[in-house]
Subunit: 403 residues, 2 copies
């Protein structure tokens, strides 16, 4: 598996990207509208936020995706078209109509996504001009791919993109992806967007299964502050340009899934690392649970505890906060069977702290990457969650914004 981090979204054959600045964002040296386009008819699928307060583009894209024939993503940043009422939905429909016209494709062959400020009407004149300019800018060079990764950013501090090349039946297959993450956007939320392209051919149903599997082991494993946005969208297009079709329950499918998993995990981790004020990347493994869902609940309880997150920020191996966060996750535990490792050092066993070398452990806390492994001794199930610490910078960013 060859990995590359440039041009990614246009790395698979038959894909183009075009980006522009059309004036939605204030910063004129930025990009705020981008289009990903397949030169060939293609299948597509998407997953959306489960937040009950969801944005107009999510509502519309959920409808469009039903047919499973998608060959373009049209994305603007700077305005989320969320909490915009009936007009917001009409604007989303208009955005689809405009894009279909310029791209010369059917209105049910493209998905839209928006991210940025909420509660303000989408500036449709700018959207119109932006889509036209982005279509005119379409191309397949690395620069086109890199610009697209930047066009979806809001307050992200760096672009998040990766592509992998796989060998399937001696043919080259590529999966590319870009994402934006935990940067907060005025006045609001950390929308997560992820767009993926691949040059295999695949029925939309099977593609959906692959995307769900991948999301489960990547985006569903991360938590910055537990706050889910109104606009979260993960979407993929498969255009078949590599001349290979992936059959169900096949070895080919396994290889493809591994490639897709690599891309989504890479992007999910990149989102955590670019979390607001994050200084640590923390992997939390809960093992020995009675069920996967109990392991998940405990891992998330630890990951979302502000006391655990501030201790991580302070580089303190605070086993008590971790163990007690596990204790209130709503899962029956036996303290005497519970074992905790921080950075692979056993610090809690049989209901008590161990006599481990605290100097060694404290020194290891200075690393950027921290691992927390909690063994429950109750069963055979496990789960993993990735998170970051809670810093002064996080409070500064989020307390100093004014609506």
């Amino acid at each position: 598996m060859e990995v590359s981090t440039t041009g990614c979204i246009v790395a698979p054959r038959g894909f183009q990207a075009g980006s522009t600045y059309c004036g939605i964002k204030i910063a004129k040296d930025s990009l705020d509208l981008g289009i990903i386009f397949s030169e060939y008819p293609a299948t597509g699928t998407a997953l959306f936020t489960t937040n009950q307060i969801y944005a107009a583009p999510v509502k519309l894209s959920r409808k469009i995706i039903q047919k499973g024939r998608i060959r373009a993503f049209v994305v603007n940043s700077g305005n989320a078209n969320a909490c915009t009422g009936d007009q917001g939905y009409k604007d989303a429909e208009e955005m689809v109509r405009i894009a279909a016209r310029y791209l010369k494709i059917s209105e049910d062959e493209l998905l839209i996504a928006s991210t940025g400020i909420i509660g303000r009407p989408l500036p449709m004149d700018k959207i119109n001009a932006g889509i036209q300019a982005a279509v005119n800018a379409l191309g397949s060079t690395q620069a086109h791919g890199n610009d697209m990764a930047r066009a979806i950013m809001t307050t992200d501090t760096r672009q998040k993109a990766v592509a992998v090349r796989l060998k399937i039946n001696n043919k080259d297959v590529t999966v590319g992806g870009i994402a934006k993450g935990a940067g907060m956007i005025a006045p609001n939320l950390a929308t997560m967007l992820c767009f993926l392209t691949t040059d295999v051919s695949m029925p939309a149903m099977l593609l959906n299964e692959c995307l769900r599997n991948s999301a489960e082991s990547s985006f569903n494993r991360i938590t910055i502050d537990g706050h889910m946005s109104t606009n979260d969208t993960i979407a993929i297009i498969a255009n078949g340009a590599a001349g290979i079709t992936i059959p169900v329950k096949s070895n080919e499918l396994q290889i493809f899934q591994q490639g897709l998993d690599y891309v989504t995990s890479y992007l999910a981790k990149a989102i955590v690392l670019d979390g607001e004020g994050a200084t640590k990347f923390v992997q939390i493994d809960v093992i020995g649970a009675r069920s996967r869902s109990e392991a998940t609940r405990i891992a998330r309880s630890i990951a979302d505890s502000p006391l655990v997150k501030t201790a991580l920020n302070g580089e303190d191996p605070n086993w008590g906060r971790i163990v007690s966060a596990a204790g209130y996750a709503g899962v029956e535990l036996d303290a005497s069977k519970t074992t905790l490792y921080i950075n692979n050092i056993l610090i809690f066993a049989k209901g008590m702290p161990t006599q481990c070398d605290l100097n060694v452990l404290s020194t290891s806390m200075k690393n950027r990457d921290i691992t927390i492994r909690l063994e429950l001794g109750l069963g055979d199930y496990k789960d993993t969650v990735w998170t970051c610490d809670l810093s002064h910078e996080y409070v500064t960013i989020n307390a100093e914004y004014h609506t």
Copy 2:
């Protein structure tokens, strides 16, 4: 209802308190062991943490409380006797034996509680000397009551105590209480302790029902950072010294319940106000829900959102963070029916922000007390949660401690 905030725990007739410094805490000018004692045999009941990792005194007190005959609370601060294994439980048993001997009561007539550092053995020689000194110090003056309120504090910045005098059948009845709260304690948790005394007579079962009702409308309504401790305990003694017995389903019971509710609500709010780094007291009302539990889930989702809490710290009326936190609470919502008031100003309706006067709203955010009212328009149920903001001070306190 007469309210007083001095001497509180000994305000009901027939109660004494005694406190001492016995060397568990480092600060020599502090108090770290206290005893509340009823001069007469009494009934008692208690509620304990639901954290699965619970401390030895909780385990033992859970056992002792079964008989419902309690006339003393023995409490130390500075060491929580949590995560201390078998030895911790033996130490808790020894603490009960020592206290029963000095108080000349039966071992099943007293509850113990501990708060402070976790994972370290209880210094039993100090506990022994401390209990003896506290018994010798027992008395009923206001100073005795005030010292007791201080003896249970850890990093609380102020004592939390209140007493109310009620008229029941023309007799004076008093309910007194003290609590400690959200002060973090090295290396760990914010243990919540609350001790209550009253001079009515009441069967333990009925007293338990009253305490549960009161806790439900007070301590169960507050959240500082969602982190529940290993040692949380709420306990009450009723000694009958006022010469009145409270019958079931009576008018007398209603008056008593109101008095108890006042005391527990006062103490719960005092805990929030003394939360680490707290600068705001925030009441979150969710109304129009399909069920009480759905209202609770949404109120807690808002209260525990770090994005909402940092916005409150920044005095920003950030409706988007509030509405979206409601949206991911796992409750089905209809954005078009959702209405949000901040400080009684309508800021969100019909899925969109309103044209309210943002200057007036922003100015009102400078008050210490903030109200958030979210109307769901789905049913007739409601709930209320009290919380505080998330400040730089919170991060400083919790990141700078080292295990």
